[in-house]
Symmetry: C2
């Protein structure tokens, strides 16, 4: 995106919509739970359902969205379909957000908890 350091052309509305879609893919707790399980390694749908407490239909839908967005890849393995993380930025994005939230809530906690 434009700004901050190098002078780049601002992103068009179309490009911003693509960026927004990418963030939207991550903007759901169920999908984040699936991703969290997948950070551990490739998993079948069933394994993901067990790991996240999601039902099969719902998991399939979310997995399809993440795959369409290019974040996951899938492969058939007999009866099974195995999903894996396909875009390394996913983990980095989550880490950035977690770090930011941790700092934010640490600042709030420090404000509320009296210093001994």
């Amino acid at each position: 995106m434009a700004g901050k350091k190098k002078q780049k052309a601002p992103l068009s509305r179309e490009a911003l919509e693509l960026v927004a879609q990418r963030f939207k893919a991550l903007a759901d707790p169920t999908r984040l739970a699936l991703l969290q399980a997948l950070f551990e390694g490739e998993r079948t749908v069933q394994e993901l359902c067990e790991a996240t407490g999601t039902n099969q239909a719902n998991a399939s839908k979310h997995l399809a969205l993440l795959t369409d967005q290019g974040l996951l890849a899938r492969r058939k393995d007999g009866l099974f379909v195995r999903y894996r993380i396909d875009d390394p930025t996913v983990h980095a994005l989550c880490e950035l957000v977690c770090g930011s939230l941790a700092r934010r809530f640490e600042a709030v906690r420090a404000h509320l908890v009296p210093e001994d």
Copy 2:
């Protein structure tokens, strides 16, 4: 988030919801346009409206959401309110996504455009 390198406890549903909310704040093209303008520096609401083609009411609402999420900070300046980026991870997040999308579409372009 859990996985990938160090073994951390998986995030609770509550934590995942907070992470999702943060991504959701970024999952809208109008809000991304506002952020893009703010990457250039502090701006009033009117300046942001002009930069992004958003009407005042809509901009105010989006700015409030971004501020509530801790991404922006604001200060009164007479009649004016000036907004600025308050969380440095915002720019990093956008850059990560832009990089990922650029690679993705470069790969598609390379696939479709014949090599001379």
